[in-house]
């Protein structure tokens, strides 16, 4: 079981830092087309922000940010988004994961590919974030005193 930190400074500073980390993570995911970044990096940052809360302010307050029962389902949801974008490209008449054939009218193929990359990166980010949190929660649950 994860113990909350006793130090006031650690708790306050981490509570101040977590929204900034999450904002930066969303920037990394959304701006991944134009600067170094993307789904994997942003997802790792989002997961790390929630793990910081788990370690410093304890389990109950951090469950308000991301409840531990959502860890494994959300990681499956991230992979599902990725696969669903591929299937949507198939519905549009192309091959699997060919974003130029996404069924959205009035967009040229290059813009559709850009949109498809953004959707896929979002799925990867959700999957990586939820998997990191799920692995941490499962490991922290392993009780050593039996």
């Amino acid at each position: 079981m994860v113990q909350r930190s006793d130090s006031i400074i650690v708790g306050i500073v981490s509570r101040f830092m977590v929204p900034l980390i999450q904002l930066f993570a969303l920037y990394v995911i959304a701006h991944g087309h134009y600067s170094p970044g993307g789904g994997f990096q942003g997802g790792a940052l989002l997961g790390a922000s929630v793990l910081l809360l788990r370690l410093t302010v304890g389990e109950q307050p951090s469950n308000l940010v991301f409840h531990k029962k959502y860890g494994t389902p959300m990681s499956g949801f991230g992979v599902f988004i990725y696969a669903a974008v591929g299937v949507a490209a198939m519905i549009g008449g192309g091959v699997y994961l060919d974003y130029a054939n996404l069924p959205i009218a009035g967009m040229e193929p290059a813009a559709l590919r850009s949109l498809g990359i953004l959707l896929v990166e979002t799925g990867v980010g959700i999957g990586v974030m939820a998997t990191m949190i799920a692995i941490f929660d499962d490991l922290a649950k392993g009780d050593f005193h039996d």
Partner: protein, 122 residues
Amino acid sequence: MTDFFIGHIAYYFIIALLIIGLWGMLFKKNLVKKLIGMNILQSSIIIFYVASASKYNATVPVIDPRLGAINPAHYINPLPHTLMLTAIVVSVATTGVALALLIVIYKRYKTLNEDELLERMK
């Protein structure tokens, strides 16, 4: 001679890291230390790929209109970066699996020392 050394010193550092990782996996008796050695070995491989992607007088692989027409000599090789980007995250996940297995081993045998573990498994 100096040029050769400067061009290859990164490889020697990578070999040193790889040998440290292998040494940890071979000679340390604690399973957690073996896992740390495996992570060091993974890091050395990742650094090797990224080092092989470097290119002199080149910038990050983000297309910059100020550099004029697109010329591959202006941008470092993006392919090793992509491969290692996924490898880093996968290594985090596999480390999680290894730690879970270590928790189960500790619960069952009450030790993580290799010699004691082999003794108790008999």
